[in-house]
Symmetry: C2
Subunit: 474 residues, 2 copies
């Protein structure tokens, strides 16, 4: 992650000896860092970053003001600043990089692993990102431009470009000499595999590191490599990658472009990380946090505006659905008890439908269901809808009957909830597949579509049934 | 993953040569596997498992009936059965293992990496798990019993027990000989790090694999190891582990018990995987899939019953909230227009509150917020609640006013939504922290608490304000 980082899995003894990282500075004043930033005390800040770890560090860094964070990053050496950036939640990291001088930003990003670096650059506006990329080494800049162009959910967007590759004609002792000479540069590489490439850069073999331990020093790589290793193409989607890593105990897989040239390595941990991000996003979107994640340290105006955008859409959809009630106030006036059941039917249909949404989302991400399975899902959901719809309908019908002593009221309310539960689970099960098939975001759009349709249908069913049975209800 | 698995990152050439794994058998009849199982054709099934990969394999295996899956696992060799188990979604894997003869189950589980093995054993009932564990090698059985006892969200529950450890006095050539002799056993080990232990088994050093490449064959490990390496204790929680791996580029960290004895290794990918599982679970629970994940291949009775348990709780809470309306039907009768706005206020307050829940959940999992930050969160949320509450209140108030031409109606409805939005975001922001502080599951319980309280308050506010302004409304 940075040039001064100690070799794999270790820290200098004196730091380790001072106790588990999470308790360091436990009692330290959270304002101390802000004070040092205010005093432009670069040495003190560097010391703080090196000495503070775990939740303490994350909390303190994420609670600085935007200006303080930018000052901190500009003040300390790039490798220390990179440590800070790696600890920040992504929105804050992006925001800070965006406001830094491009030269400083480029120096910091050079110290960050390629996949995290690309994640940040993708979030910047295009001219800002290009200004930073221009300042990097030409070869690195080309790598980065290529990676930024990939979607986040394909191998090319998930790979790292820190890998070892040698020509078929290299000898074991040449590789060992290279490893020794570039020990510092390779400190952050995952060198479990060494790849073997031909003159055109195409992947032709892999040498697991352990094979070097036992090989003759004079052997060339083509004699000790495993030829034609498993590889993935740069456009392989995340769901397929996740299945591959579930299938086999690979720690990483080489990524090749359409011509077979080795361009990166997708690691098991990178795939797991992308899956976690995807689930997080689905959760946030389902609960109405749209347009990127929100942290409470963000300015009120940003937080309010983003949330309000979502709420405004929903209130319009709600008003549209409720207009069905407005058109039936005569029925409602005649049977005022119905007003008690309208919110219940709206809420319960939302609950039933959301359950079906959750199952579809999970099956899509596990790869057991595809958009083309729409009718299978519909059949399965209708079955659940019939059972649960009847159960809930009988329950609410009984409550209505017992409350007012009128079996017709129970019948109207119960029948409406039964039917609407069937509608809700059908929509909830199918909409995510349909959206996915249309390349739209199912986590984002399923909720509003579901609740609007089920509210509309629910209100309509209750009030229509009631107007049909009006003579028996009054 | 199994003894016949080829060395890291490779498959035999002939398989690779037959094209990318995901397209193999693309056109194959999905019923072919079921047919071979019916015919007890173990050879055919083995061939199918070896030749079919990616989504095709996952879909076909997960759509077998429970009986077919059990027959398949019992019929093929344990290493092939282990491949099947690894590809199945966890609930199906657990279910199949549960119904197998303990001897067969033990043989299959022996071929599965220790962390996945423990995940499955944890889901079995205690006697069933013990019956299987008893049949394993004594040393392995002890490891497993210890791992099963850990929570899933601490280092001990996330670690693998496949790691290399040698005494300080071992020489480089002894280690290399051991690696060679046990090449097959170690094929599934992540050997990026070799750990060094003292006579008591306590962790005293680490040797990155690359150091062996350049070391003298006669050197003892204590001369080439990095002493006192970073380690985590078995009870370190997931949130701290995730911050450590964000902080530093470790691929794995050694796990020690309270006495300093090395008991396992927690890998970066294992931590990322646990975070993904946690997000998935939060998403499922927020949408009402409770008690483990649901797949549509499960029997209807299981799916309906589980969903219904959640719906039954919610309908009771809904009836309680709606009883507020029932107690105010006189007001409602006088101003029937209010009935249109009750579902809107209920739904919008739920939306606003859920946004705050999502932000709290994310901040908890990032480690930037702790349960003790309750008042900070409350302050931040009230600010958003005031802004968004006024915006939504004015909007709905205007709609009410324009519809009925009565400014008092607009005032009642708008004031109720403004106030209830503030209540909703406060509850939504604080409840997850409070539940987390009480060691309860915030993803599960936040939703029902939120919607019940906000429905109750929302209905009460509208109807109370309306009864106060009744003279102006009619």
């Amino acid at each position: 992650m940075n040039q001064s980082a100690p070799e794999d899995g270790s820290r200098p003894t004196d730091e380790v000896a001072s106790g588990p990282a999470t308790t360091i500075n436990e009692g330290m004043d959270e304002g101390a860092l802000a004070e040092m930033i205010g005093d432009r005390d670069a040495g003190g800040c560097t010391e703080w970053v090196e000495a503070t770890h775990g939740q303490e560090a994350v909390r303190a860094l994420s609670r600085l003001s935007d200006e303080e964070r930018e000052q901190l990053l500009a003040m300390v050496e790039p490798d220390v600043a990179a440590e800070v950036v790696e600890r920040l939640p992504e929105p804050q990291a992006v925001d800070a990089i965006e406001h830094l001088d491009a030269n400083i930003a480029a120096a910091i990003l050079a110290e960050i692993p390629s996949d995290d670096r690309v994640d940040i650059l993708k979030e910047l506006d295009a001219p800002g990102a290009e200004a930073i990329i221009c300042l990097m080494e030409a070869a690195e800049a080309d790598d980065i431009r290529r990676m930024v162009a990939y979607d986040e959910d394909v191998a090319g967007g998930l790979m790292i470009t820190e890998f070892l590759a040698f020509p078929t004609t290299a000898t074991v002792s040449e590789v060992l000499r290279d490893l020794e000479a570039n020990a510092e540069k390779y400190a952050d590489f995952n060198i479990t595999y060494t790849y073997v490439i031909d003159e055109a850069g195409a992947l032709v073999g892999v040498v697991p590191l352990r094979r070097f331990l036992l090989a003759r020093r004079g052997a060339t790589l083509d004699t000790i490599m495993i030829p034609d290793p498993v590889r993935v193409t740069d456009l392989e989607p995340l769901v397929d990658l996740s299945i591959r890593f579930r299938d086999e105990p690979y720690m990483g897989l080489p990524v090749v472009d359409a011509t077979g040239v080795l361009i990166g390595v997708v690691e098991r941990s990178g795939v797991e990380h992308a899956l976690a991000e995807e689930s997080d996003e689905a959760y946030r979107e389902a609960l109405g946090i749209i347009g990127g994640e929100e942290l409470r340290s963000m300015p009120l105006v940003v937080r309010s505006r983003r949330r309000l955008a979502w709420l405004s859409l929903n209130i319009v959809l709600n008003i549209i659905a409720a207009s069905v009630i407005a058109m039936h106030t005569d029925t409602l006036e005649a049977v005022i008890a119905l007003a008690v059941f309208l919110p219940i039917i709206s809420d319960m249909s939302g609950c039933s439908g959301n359950q079906a949404v959750a199952v579809s989302m999970r099956e899509l991400s596990l790869g057991v269901t595809r958009p083309s399975d729409l009718f299978r899902v519909l059949g399965k959901e209708i079955a659940v809808g019939v059972v649960n719809g009847i159960a809930l309908g009988v329950l609410i019908g009984l409550v209505a009957f017992l409350w007012k002593g009128n079996p017709w009221l129970g019948g109207v309310v119960g029948a409406a909830l039964t039917l609407n539960t069937m509608i809700a689970v059908s929509i909830g099960g199918c909409v995510p597949l349909a959206l996915k098939g249309l390349k739209l975001d199912p986590a984002l759009a399923s909720g509003p579509i579901l609740t609007t349709v089920t509210d509309l249908c629910g209100f309509l069913l209750v009030l229509t049934f009631a107007s049909m049975a009006l003579a028996k209800l009054t």
